[in-house]
């Protein structure tokens, strides 16, 4: 019987694992050597074992109201130390620039006065909330958690695809994938030093505590979830348990006298920091959607007065706007005086009539994206779209040029993925998670690699049949790295996964 990678035929895209047929890249050599002789039957049985484990442990996501196991591919994605260093610095730089931008948007508006970003962009942004104007959070942090989506192009260069600074989700998969992998293929980890991921809950909790209102030395932190029917509910429950904080729903909270309380068996207890996984629109019926029962009336007033901190900040959506994305390289120069370490994908703004006409003429060669869409919603990929789809999107762009951007189609890199019996190339992306505690922006080593399971599919999303991969960041040397990075053992968690990218970002 042939060894498992013998039949692997690389696709046109950049392959993460192989330089050319049969020759793995340096960071993959140890993995290749360990997997290659396993044999397809062994690999398949490990994959089945993995799937069974997920079903039993409730490692599922909600798709169209049905709980389904979320596919984790057995073959990990590996990033070497040097490239991870670039990612860390690049994402950190981006988060710092976006923090500065948000501070400006809800403060002095200097970036608009200086003409770096046009005023109309601010006033036409659906996520710019006047409620947040002049409201500076206790330690100045608005992006407590950031998720920056990265893709690798045909030549192997990493690009930023989008920023998510509202409620980025998916980190639970990172934690669970690692747990599942260490149980299913423990020997792989003995070959080389893979940086651990279990630090995340402690880092997040520390950042949330650091954001507490002034004068509160031992803050009560809660995680606010829309409830059990939310697609990302398992992530909420997992994080709450790993941080040891209460997982609350809107109905557990009450505001009185501009202070926030939770209703307990011993009566009301004060709450100081709310890590909310509820969108701005549903957060507080007094200020936003009046019909929302997911939030708590009075919460925004209490936060504005500095009695409670809301994380991530209210109104962060301005920075997620894909039209703002086109300005981020400028913002990095403007606020930080640095040049961007991670480039954007080549993008066209459609408010200029000439650009718009050119883009509309070439719509069949470009990708058109709504500025407000998360999780691949509304995206039209020109080269694979039908004439009808193109006609519809052309009309949509003409009606609302502010609502769209156009991008060069990037053929995402591929990674060997087990489909049926053999590994075949499938497109992937990467979402690193950043935690900002006000002193430093920390990156979880690895992040979430999403994989599009249907052949040729470029939208990497669970709602389109996506899965994920365990993402390894290699340490420089085990001996040097272990003492520095081994965190106290995390509390036990049970894997759970959800199609988090539909409701959340």
């Amino acid at each position: 019987m042939a060894d498992i990678f013998d039949k692997y035929v690389m696709a046109e895209a950049w392959d993460e694992m192989f330089e050319r047929a049969g020759v793995p890249r340096p960071q993959y050599q140890a993995l290749f050597a360990a997997l290659q002789p396993l044999g397809v039957r062994e690999l398949r049985s490990r994959a089945d074992q993995l799937a069974r484990m997920f079903t039993h442990r409730g490692v599922t996501f909600d798709y169209a109201g049905v709980e389904r196991p979320f596919p984790l591919d057995l073959i990990p994605r590996i990033i070497d130390a040097a490239e991870w260093d670039l990612v860390t610095r690049g994402v950190r730089q981006r988060i710092r620039a976006l923090e500065a931008f948000l501070d400006d948007v809800y403060g002095r508006h200097q970036v608009f006065h200086d003409g770096v970003v046009p005023w109309r962009l601010l006033h036409s942004s659906p996520h710019y909330h006047r409620e947040a104007h002049g409201w500076r959070p206790p330690n100045g942090v608005r992006v407590h958690v950031g998720g920056t989506d990265l893709i690798r192009d045909e030549r192997g260069a990493l690009h930023v695809l989008e920023d998510n600074v509202r409620t980025p989700s998916g980190v639970s998969y990172v934690l669970e994938n690692r747990l599942a992998m260490t149980r299913t293929l423990p020997t792989l980890f003995s070959e080389q030093f893979v940086r651990p991921v279990e630090e995340y809950p402690a880092r997040l909790l520390a950042a949330l505590r650091a954001a507490a209102p002034a004068g509160v030395s031992d803050p009560t932190v809660v995680l606010l979830t829309p409830g059990v029917y939310n697609a990302a509910y398992f992530e909420h429950a997992l994080l709450a348990r790993l941080m040891g904080v209460e997982l609350v729903e809107g109905r557990d909270l009450v505001c009185e006298g501009n202070r926030l309380y939770m209703v307990t068996t011993y009566g009301r207890r004060p709450v100081h920091v709310v890590y909310r996984r509820v969108d701005d629109d549903y957060l507080d019926p007094l200020h936003f959607r009046g019909d929302s029962v997911l939030g708590c009336p009075g919460l925004v007033n209490a936060a504005r007065l500095g009695n409670v901190t809301i994380a991530n900040g209210v109104g962060n959506g301005v920075a997620d706007d894909k039209l703002v994305y086109t300005y981020v390289p400028d913002l990095i120069g403007y606020y930080l005086g640095e040049s961007p370490l991670l480039p954007n994908v080549e993008t066209y703004r459609l408010d200029d009539p000439d650009v718009r006409d050119d883009v509309l003429a070439r719509a069949g060669e470009l990708v058109l994206k709504p500025v407000d869409g998360a999780g691949g919603k509304g995206i039209v990929i020109g080269p694979v779209a039908t004439d009808e789809q193109l006609a519809v999107v052309r009309r949509a762009v003409r009606d609302d040029p502010r609502g769209w951007i156009a991008q060069r189609p990037v053929l995402l890199s591929t990674s060997p993925t087990l489909i049926g019996e053999w590994p075949v190339p499938r497109h992937i992306d990467l979402r690193p998670f950043a935690v900002n505690d006000g002193e430093d922006v920390w990156l979880l080593p690895g992040g979430l690699t999403r994989v599009a399971l249907p052949e040729g599919e470029l939208v990497v999303n669970s709602s389109r049949g996506g899965g994920s991969k365990d993402t390894w960041v290699l340490g420089e040397t085990p001996a040097a790295a272990i003492p520095a990075t081994v965190a106290p053992p995390a509390a036990q968690w049970s894997p759970s996964r959800t199609a988090a990218w539909e409701d959340e970002q």
Binding site: F234, R241, T264, T265, Y266, P297, S496
Partner: protein, 296 residues
């Protein structure tokens, strides 16, 4: 020392305890009744009565099993209880140990596949899984309020189910009663192979964990820890008071009159359970007043 528990979570945990215990008790009851149901159609009717279900004109043993074990549309069925327990647990995963959640989740996943097997396989699986659930809760959870609400729910459900069982099977043979309560071997070791003390064993035994008095004592203990009394006299908590009164009445009952006074005693027990349930809901599960905002 124990940290406050969200009312919503307390309520969910209490009901998880009740659901799992109900599934367990129903499984025991059906398991011992299957044979009798074949011989005596009357048994079917009395089982419906035990569970407080509307009687059906003609019933057969398979129909009873289907309704009480497999039918998800019958809220009192085993399948529905397991599903409710599992769905509830899903909503409080952050406070349950992951093994405890996993136990309910796996049970729920496996259950429907067992319907094609003989009822005994299904029923004994449910009993084993219930034992596993409570065992895991006992060994993995801190003795805090989370654990107490589960135990409280379990204890009250057990009293409720045992009294229902006695009420219906009053005239049946004692062996069936003992088996349905999982007490036959314990009883035989205690009293020998005789019929004499069955009622006092099921109602009053202080050492047997499924007896009514033992369960009442457990519920009282939980309530005392959940709501310690600060007054010098009397019992302020009405759930504690209701349970304490009926427990004392039982414990001091004259053993010779037990048989004759049984219907009255069972009625009192049922009332006490209902009253305690209401008092617990009122005291601990108060929900936020309808969405309201109180200004500065």
């Amino acid at each position: 020392m124990t940290r406050p528990l969200l009312s919503r979570i307390a309520e969910t945990l209490y009901w998880i305890g009740r659901y799992v215990e109900r599934a367990d008790d129903t499984a025991r009851l059906l398991d011992v009744s299957v044979h009798r149901m074949l011989d005596e159609p009357e048994t079917c009717r009395s089982i419906f009565a035990v569970l407080g279900l509307s009687p059906v004109a003609s019933v057969s043993a398979p129909a009873v099993i289907r309704r009480l074990a497999y039918d998800l549309d019958e809220p009192a069925s085993i399948a529905a209880s397991i599903q409710s327990a599992r769905d509830s647990a899903r909503g409080v995963r952050e406070v349950l140990a992951s093994e405890v959640w996993e136990c309910l989740n796996v049970t729920w996943h496996h259950l429907s596949a067992l319907e094609s097997q003989p009822p005994h396989a299904y029923l004994s699986f449910v009993r084993e899984r219930a034992a596993l659930f409570f065992g895991l809760a006992d060994t993995s959870m801190s003795r805090d309020d989370c654990w107490r609400f589960i135990v409280l729910g379990r204890s009250l459900e057990r009293v409720d189910m045992t009294t229902r069982l006695l009420a219906v099977h009053l005239d049946s043979d004692w062996r069936l009663l003992l088996q349905a309560s999982g007490a036959d071997e314990s009883f035989t070791r205690t009293h020998g192979a005789r019929d004499g003390e069955v009622l006092e064993f099921l109602l009053l035994d202080r050492l047997f964990p499924r007896s009514v008095v033992y369960s009442l004592l457990t519920a009282e203990k939980c309530l005392r820890a959940l709501a310690p009394d600060t007054t010098r006299a009397g019992v302020a908590d009405s759930a504690q008071a209701a349970i304490g009164r009926v427990r004392a009445g039982l414990e001091y009952a004259d053993l010779n009159e037990l048989r004759d006074r049984l219907p009255e005693l069972l009625g009192t027990l049922q009332e006490a359970c209902a009253a305690a349930g209401e008092a617990i809901a009122k005291r601990f599960f108060q929900h936020r007043e309808a969405m309201a905002w109180v200004g500065a």
